[in-house]
C-alpha cells in the first residue's frame, strides 16, 4: 500500500490551500442563510416592494396615501442622505424614493395639481407598480376635489379610502399549488459544485503530476510491484479523496439546510451531487493527464471551475442566463447538475440530467485513460 499512502501524504500537503476553498464555501453558505427567504406560501400573494417616503408635512391626505401604498410596499427607514439613498437604490435595498413637498396638501385641495418627486430605478417594474397605485389614489382624490368643490380633507380621505378598499378576486390555476421559494437546499447543493470541482481538480491533478514525473514513473516501473497494483492503489486513493470531499461538502450542505431534511427531495439532492462528484473526478483525471506543471494546474483549475460555474448557473440562476450561454453550458456536467437540482426542487423528473452527468463521467474517464496511454507511449518512444 505504499502508493496509496504516498497519495494520502500528497493530499495532506495540499490541505491548507484546499481548506481555503472549504472555508469560502462555508462563508458563502452562511451569508446565504442570513439572506433567507420565506419558504412556502399558498394562494396568491400580492407582491411588495421596498420604498422610502420623505414627507415635509403631514395631513389626512398623506396618511391615506401611505395607507394605500402599504398594501404593496414596505417602508424602509433610511437617512435622507444622497450617498445612502444612492447605495440603497443601486443595491436594490429600495426601489422607490417618494418626496412630499411642503404645502402639497394645500395645493392639492386647491386643485393646483402639485407634484411629488420620485426617485427610482429607471424603467423598473417595481416603479411602474408603485406609480400605478399612487396615481390611482391621487386621481381618485382629485376627482372628488374637482367634483365636490370645498370638500373637507377628512371626507375626502374617507371617500378615497373607501373607493380603494376593493380587491379584484384572484384565482389560482391550480388551487392547491404552493409557490415561492423551494427552500435553501438547492442553493447549498448548487454552490457545492464550485468548491468540489476546484478541490478535486487541484487534488487529483497534483497527485498525477507527481506520478507522471518521468523519473518517478521509471522508478515505479522498476519496483517489484505490478503496474496494475500501482494504478489500483492510485485510483483507490483518489477515489477516497473525492469521496471524503464530497461527503464533507454534502454534509455541510445538509447541515446548513437542516430544517429541510425531512423533505422527500433530500435523497435526490444527495444522489445528484454524488453523480456530479463522479463526473468532476473524471474531469480532474483528464486535466491531470493533459496539464503539466503546478502553476498551470492551479491556473486551469481556477479558470475552469469559475468559468463552468458562472455559465452553468451555480452563481447566477439559470433562469437569468441567456439562451446562448446555456447552450454553451450544456456541454458541461455542471450545467446538468444545476439543472438536476432545479428539477429536484420542484419534485420533477431529473433522471435525464442524472444520466447525462453519468455519461459525462464515463466519457471523460475514458478520454483521460486514452490521453494517459498516449502520453506514456510518447515517453517510452
Amino acid at each position: 500500500m505504499q502508493v496509496f499512502k504516498l497519495c494520502l501524504k500528497i493530499f495532506k500537503k495540499n490541505l491548507p490551500v484546499m481548506s481555503i476553498y472549504f472555508g469560502v464555501f462555508i462563508m458563502v453558505s452562511i451569508i446565504m442563510m442570513s439572506n433567507n427567504r420565506p419558504t412556502e406560501q399558498a394562494g396568491f400573494i400580492q407582491a411588495k416592494t421596498r420604498m422610502v417616503v420623505f414627507s415635509e408635512e403631514s395631513s389626512p391626505l398623506i396618511d391615506g396615501m401611505k395607507e394605500v401604498l402599504s398594501d404593496i410596499a414596505v417602508f424602509e427607514a433610511i437617512e435622507d442622505d444622497e450617498n445612502q439613498l444612492q447605495d440603497a437604490l443601486y443595491f436594490r435595498r429600495i426601489s422607490y424614493i417618494l418626496r412630499i413637498p411642503e404645502n402639497f396638501t394645500e395645493d392639492f385641495l386647491a386643485g393646483k395639481n402639485p407634484t411629488l418627486s420620485v426617485t427610482s430605478v429607471p424603467e423598473a417594474t417595481s416603479k411602474i407598480y408603485i406609480d400605478m397605485r399612487l396615481d390611482q389614489y391621487l386621481n381618485t382624490a382629485n376627482i372628488y376635489v374637482n367634483q365636490i368643490p370645498g370638500i373637507d380633507a377628512q371626507t375626502l380621505n374617507t371617500y378615497t379610502l373607501e373607493d380603494l378598499d376593493y380587491e379584484t378576486p384572484v384565482q389560482m390555476l391550480e388551487a392547491d399549488q404552493t409557490f415561492g421559494e423551494e427552500g435553501m437546499m438547492p442553493y447549498y447543493f448548487n454552490y457545492l459544485a464550485y468548491t468540489f470541482m476546484f478541490v478535486v481538480i487541484m487534488g487529483i491533478s497534483t497527485i498525477m503530476l507527481v506520478f507522471n514525473d518521468l523519473n518517478i514513473k521509471r522508478r515505479n516501473a522498476c519496483a517489484p510491484m505490478s503496474s496494475t497494483s500501482v494504478t489500483l492503489q492510485f485510483y483507490l486513493a483518489t477515489m477516497l479523496f473525492s469521496l471524503l470531499s464530497w461527503a464533507l461538502l454534502a454534509g455541510l450542505s445538509l447541515l446548513f439546510s437542516r430544517n429541510e431534511l425531512s423533505d422527500s427531495n433530500t435523497l435526490a439532492f444527495i444522489l445528484n451531487s454524488f453523480v456530479f462528484a463522479l463526473s468532476s473526478s473524471s474531469i480532474a483525471f483528464l486535466i491531470g493527464n493533459l496539464v503539466k506543471g503546478r502553476e498551470a494546474i492551479s491556473a486551469i483549475a481556477n479558470v475552469f471551475t469559475l468559468g463552468s460555474c458562472f455559465i452553468s448557473g451555480v452563481f447566477v440562476p439559470q433562469a437569468i442566463l441567456t439562451d446562448s450561454v446555456l447552450k454553451m453550458a450544456s456541454f458541461l456536467p455542471t450545467y446538468w447538475y444545476v439543472r438536476g437540482n432545479t428539477l429536484i426542487a420542484i419534485s420533477a423528473d431529473f433522471s435525464k440530467a442524472l444520466m447525462i452527468q453519468l455519461a459525462f463521467a464515463v466519457a471523460f474517464f475514458i478520454l483521460a485513460i486514452v490521453v494517459g496511454k498516449k502520453k506514456r507511449m510518447a515517453i517510452e518512444a
Binding site: 491548507p16 490551500v17 481555503i20 462563508m27 451569508i31 406560501q41 396568491f44 400573494i45 400580492q46 407582491a47 404593496i72 444612492q86 447605495d87 437604490l89 443601486y90 443595491f91 435595498r93 424614493i97 420620485v118 427610482s120 429607471p122 424603467e123 423598473a124 417594474t125 417595481s126 416603479k127 411602474i128 407598480y129 399612487l134 396615481d135 390611482q136 391621487l138 386621481n139 376627482i143 367634483q147 365636490i148 371617500y159 373607501e162 373607493d163 380603494l164 380587491e167 379584484t168 378576486p169 384572484v170 384565482q171 389560482m172 390555476l173 409557490f179 415561492g180 491556473a299 481556477n302 469559475l306 458562472f310 455559465i311 452563481f315 437569468i320 442566463l321 441567456t322 450561454v325 454553451m328
Partner: protein
C-alpha cells in the same frame, strides 16, 4: 543604470508566464464569465410588456377602452390576447401569459403564480373597479356634476433621478474585478522585494554585491513592474470598455488616474507583505491571494449585495479594505456628480499606499542581514 535595470526587468517580466496569467489573463477570463453570466442580469427587474389573456364574458366598452389605451403606444403595458376560457387556461399553464382577465360585471383574475407581473395585473383591475366606485358615488351625491366630469388621469409625480448613470447592479461586479486585478499587481511587489533582498533570494544576494545603490535599484526595477502592471490594466480596461461594453461614465481621465493609483496601491501592498511577513514565497503568495480575494468578496465581486451589507452593517470594514476603496472610487465616479465620495476613497487608498511604501522602505533600507 536606470535604463539597464529597467529594460532587463521588462524583459524578465514579459516572459514570466504565470505572472502575466494571474495579473492579466485571469481577470480578463473572469470578466468574460461575468459578462456571460450577467448578460441577462442587467435587464432583470426592468419592465417589459405583460402578456395577458382576456376572456370576454360580457361586453364592457369602458374596460375595453381602458385596456386598449394601456396596450398601445410606444411601450405598452399589456399585450392582450382575446381567447376562450379553455384557451386561456392552456396559455396560462404554458406560461405564455402572466394571467387571464375574465371580463364580466366584475373583473376576475386567474394566475399561475405570485409575482410582480401578476400583482400589476391585479392592481390594474383594482383600479378599474375603484374608478367605477368613485363615479357611482359622485353620481349618487352630486349627479349634476356627472356631465362635466373629467376622468383623464392627472400625473402627480415627476421623476427626480438621483444619478445620470443607470443603476445597473452588474457594474459593481466589474468595478470589484478591476480592483482585484490592481491588487493582484501585488505579485509584482512581492517579486521586486524578494529580488532585492539578499535573504529572500540568491539573485538578491548577487544584486547586493553589485556597486549599485540598493534603493535606487529597487525603484528602477519596481518602475518596470509598474509599467507592465499599468499596461496590463489598460488591456483589461480596453477589453471591458470596447469588447464587453462595460460603462464607466464619461470621466475617462479620472478613471485612468484611479487605475494608476489602484495599481500603485496593489504593487506596494505586495512589497509590504513581502518585506514584513516572515515565511517562504508560497506562503506570501497565498496570503496575497487570500487577502485580495476576501477584499474583493467584501467589495461585492461574488455577490453585489455583499458590498451593501458590509457598508450598512460594518462600515469600518469598507474603510480598512483597500480593495473596496478602489472599487468604490469607480462607483462614486460613475454615479455621483460631486467628487466628495470619490476623493474620500482616493485619499484612503493613497494613505494605504503611503503606509505600504514606507513600511517597505523601512525594511529594505537595511542592507546587512542577520542571516541569509
Amino acid at each position: 543604470m536606470f535604463g539597464h535595470i529597467f529594460v532587463y526587468r521588462l524583459k524578465v517580466l514579459l516572459r514570466d508566464k504565470s505572472m502575466i496569467f494571474w495579473t492579466m489573463i485571469f481577470p480578463i477570463a473572469l470578466a468574460t464569465f461575468f459578462n456571460l453570466a450577467f448578460g441577462g442580469f442587467s435587464s432583470q427587474g426592468t419592465f417589459g410588456t405583460i402578456p395577458v389573456a382576456v376572456v370576454l364574458e360580457s361586453d364592457n366598452i369602458a374596460f375595453a377602452d381602458t385596456l386598449e389605451k394601456m396596450s398601445t403606444g410606444e411601450s405598452p403595458m399589456f399585450k392582450p390576447d382575446f381567447v376562450t376560457p379553455s384557451q386561456a387556461d392552456a396559455l396560462l399553464s404554458d406560461g405564455k401569459v402572466a394571467g387571464t382577465i375574465t371580463v364580466a360585471d366584475t373583473m376576475a383574475l386567474k394566475v399561475n403564480q405570485s409575482g410582480i407581473s401578476q400583482s400589476i395585473l391585479k392592481i390594474f383591475l383594482d383600479r378599474y373597479a375603484h374608478t367605477t366606485r368613485t363615479v357611482s358615488r359622485i353620481a349618487a351625491i352630486h349627479p349634476e356634476s356627472l356631465q362635466n366630469m373629467d376622468l383623464t388621469p392627472v400625473t402627480f409625480t415627476k421623476d427626480a433621478p438621483i444619478t445620470t448613470g443607470n443603476l445597473d447592479m452588474t457594474l459593481n461586479y466589474f468595478y470589484a474585478l478591476i480592483a482585484m486585478a490592481c491588487f493582484y499587481g501585488s505579485f509584482f511587489g512581492l517579486e521586486e522585494v524578494s529580488l532585492i533582498q539578499a535573504n529572500l533570494s540568491r539573485r538578491g544576494a548577487r544584486l547586493n554585491m553589485a556597486p549599485v545603490h540598493k534603493l535606487k535599484a529597487f525603484i528602477y526595477s519596481s518602475l518596470a513592474s509598474y509599467t507592465i502592471l499599468i499596461g496590463e490594466m489598460m488591456v483589461l480596461m480596453a477589453y471591458l470598455i470596447f469588447v464587453l461594453g462595460v460603462n464607466f461614465g464619461s470621466q475617462i481621465g479620472l478613471i485612468l488616474v484611479t487605475v494608476f493609483i489602484g495599481s500603485l496601491a496593489g504593487l506596494t501592498f505586495g512589497s509590504f507583505i513581502a518585506a514584513l511577513v516572515k515565511g517562504d514565497a508560497n506562503m506570501k503568495t497565498g496570503l496575497l491571494i487570500g487577502i485580495t480575494m476576501i477584499g474583493s468578496f467584501l467589495s461585492g465581486m461574488m455577490f453585489a449585495e455583499m458590498k451593501y451589507l458590509v457598508q450598512t452593517k460594518f462600515p469600518l470594514l469598507t474603510i480598512i479594505n483597500p480593495v473596496n476603496l478602489l472599487a468604490d472610487a469607480f462607483y462614486a465616479l460613475y454615479f455621483f456628480s460631486t467628487y466628495n465620495r470619490y476623493l474620500l476613497n482616493i485619499s484612503g487608498l493613497l494613505i494605504f499606499t503611503v503606509i505600504f511604501a514606507l513600511s517597505t522602505y523601512w525594511v529594505i533600507r537595511r542592507r546587512k542581514y542577520a542571516s541569509l
